[in-house]
């Protein structure tokens, strides 16, 4: 397996974040995840892959590999990259069915992030989750 974000599991993410009791450690962890997320080549950041946030931009691409969806995503903001890594921990290299069955709201709630990092804060995370689920749905139906 290559060094993709799927290297961390959602369970690990939840446990790690639960372990920290102050915002600084949580954010340092999220930022580290952001730094580890493989960068998309600039030429790859096409307009049609853009997921618009209010204050930052994010891109999402995907391909199918043996019945699983491999995602590639990036953002110009580091914290958003970290949040993307959190999302990809749940979604990357899963089957369309697994993606659709995954309870993302519960995941966010368990991350206890909603308090600090609300998906409505214009960071485009909701839109990215939506796009991932749409992709999974279109493949699940095919």
């Amino acid at each position: 397996m290559n060094a993709s974000s799927a290297a961390v599991s959602p369970q690990e993410v939840v446990e790690t974040l639960a372990f920290f009791d102050d915002w600084e450690d949580r954010y340092r962890y999220i930022i580290d995840l952001g730094r580890e997320l493989p960068a998309m080549p600039e030429a790859h950041k096409r307009e049609d892959l853009l997921v618009r946030g209010c204050q930052s931009q994010a891109w999402l691409d995907w391909r199918e590999e043996g019945g699983r969806i491999v995602f590639e995503a990036d953002s110009d903001a580091l914290i958003v990259r970290g949040l993307i890594a959190l999302i990809l921990a749940a979604y990357d290299r899963r089957t369309p069915r697994e993606i659709l069955d995954f309870d993302i709201d519960d995941y966010f709630a368990r991350l206890d992030l909603l308090r600090h990092i609300s998906p409505t804060r214009g960071n485009g995370l909701r839109a990215m989750v939506q796009r991932i689920r749409d992709i999974a749905r279109s493949l699940a139906m095919a």
Partner: protein
């Protein structure tokens, strides 16, 4: 010599400022987006709903008389606040955006034709760009930006060169929200008038900082929002010269704006009601009057000096912040610190400041063209008001140093 301006005491009447955010005392530095409200304003709005709420200009009952009286008194308060020659020239709107749309629709469209031009500030807020684009699209005219200099001023030589026979209107902000620049509006208006061109000023960012005298400015239209000058959201004003207002067609149709209605003929109400279709934001207007009343008790020159001192203090602390790059270095500016930190995305900086209780804005500030002009996707903007303190400037920079250590 005036005594030191007592922001600490002034804050006491802003209940919102006393709270904690993310476990830290709030440092509110997003005043260019909206200012907080003093007790005087909050109480006036509550008192209106508790005691005299009823529709204006309609009811044959006492409460309606009280509400109408308070609503119209508020118009008088605004008239005096901007020194308009008459109350008929003070039109209530939802805010700056609606005021500009009103002028674009009822004034500009009828005067524009193919090949005509509207000159618009190169650092305008989107609400002072898009309404003109809509009017231009409908008429074959075009919207031409006034170029911006490296230190975030409007290039006046370029402006004069653009001011030719094709220009029908000049629209610019009195004070820039993205950069803080105070434009030399008197000079710009005089030049435009010499060429026979009327001028609209977007006063959204000026009313909370500077005294405004529409007659001294000789401005044709002045638009502003209550919520950026300590008044409620949802209320704003359009001031216009009488001759223009009288020649303008209505903007929206409905109740309040008519004299008589028949299916074959409708006559419109006189000024200002012709432009105030529907039930207005009565509580908002009353809140606006309360804000003006509150401002009237403040030494505004001392307040402006205090804000300048906050900005100077911030700039001094900025020298010790590695990678800090200020945008908007105009010599005449309000206390707006629009900046980037090299290698850090403005949104990341904003998020990390928020965790420390410091509220700033990050992003393009609804002024994308000027962001492109300076080659940045956005900035972090700390915008100060008269209730901010030097201790808060220090909190901002301590928070920035910490944010930087993360990024």
């Amino acid at each position: 010599m005036s005594a030191r301006f007592d922001a600490e005491r002034l804050r006491g009447v802003f209940p919102l400022l006393a709270q904690e955010i993310n476990g830290k005392p709030l440092v509110y530095l997003d005043n260019a987006a909206t200012t907080q409200k003093p007790d005087r304003v909050i109480d006036a709005v509550a008192r209106y709903y508790r005691t005299i709420n009823s529709n204006v200009h309609r009811g044959a009952h006492t409460l309606s008389d009280h509400a109408t009286g308070a609503f119209e008194d508020a118009r008088d308060a605004v008239r005096a606040f901007i020194n308009a020659p008459s109350r008929e020239q003070v039109i209530w709107t939802r805010g700056t955006t609606e005021s500009i749309n009103l002028v674009a629709h009822s004034f500009a469209r009828g005067r524009l034709g193919a090949g005509d031009r509207i000159l618009v500030s190169g650092m305008a807020h989107h609400s002072n760009i898009v309404p003109w684009q809509l009017a231009a699209q409908a008429t074959g005219a075009s919207v031409v930006p006034i170029p911006v200099t490296d230190d975030a001023r409007l290039d006046l030589d370029a402006f004069r060169a653009l001011l030719d026979a094709r220009v029908r209107l000049v629209a610019l902000e009195h004070v820039s929200n993205a950069m803080g620049t105070i434009h030399p509006v008197a000079e710009i208006i005089a030049a435009a008038h010499a060429a026979g061109v009327p001028v609209l000023l977007d006063g959204a960012q000026s009313v909370g900082h500077l005294p405004v005298d529409v007659q001294a400015l000789d401005v044709d239209f002045y638009a502003f929002s209550g919520h950026k000058m300590f008044a409620p959201t949802g209320i704003g004003v359009l001031y216009g010269k009488r001759a223009w207002l009288e020649a303008m067609t209505p903007y929206q149709g409905g109740g309040e704006m008519i004299e008589t209605v028949g299916f074959d003929h409708t006559t419109y109400a006189r000024l200002p009601y012709r432009f105030e279709a529907g039930t207005p934001h009565i509580a908002g207007a009353i809140g606006m009057a309360a804000a003006i009343d509150w401002l009237g008790g403040i030494d505004r020159e001392a307040a402006a000096r205090h804000e300048d001192a906050l900005l100077a203090h911030a700039l001094e602390l900025a020298r010790e912040l590695p990678g800090f790059r200020l945008l908007g270095r105009a010599p005449q500016k309000v206390a707006v610190l629009s900046f980037v930190i090299d290698g850090a995305h403005p949104q990341d900086v904003g998020t990390l400041l928020d965790q420390q209780g410091v509220a700033v804005r990050s992003g393009h500030h609804c002024a994308q063209p000027v962001m492109s002009r300076f080659g940045v996707p956005g900035t972090v903007r700390a915008s100060f008001s008269l209730y901010n303190t030097h201790a808060e400037v220090e909190r901002l920079f301590a928070a920035l140093h910490k944010a930087r250590s993360f990024l």
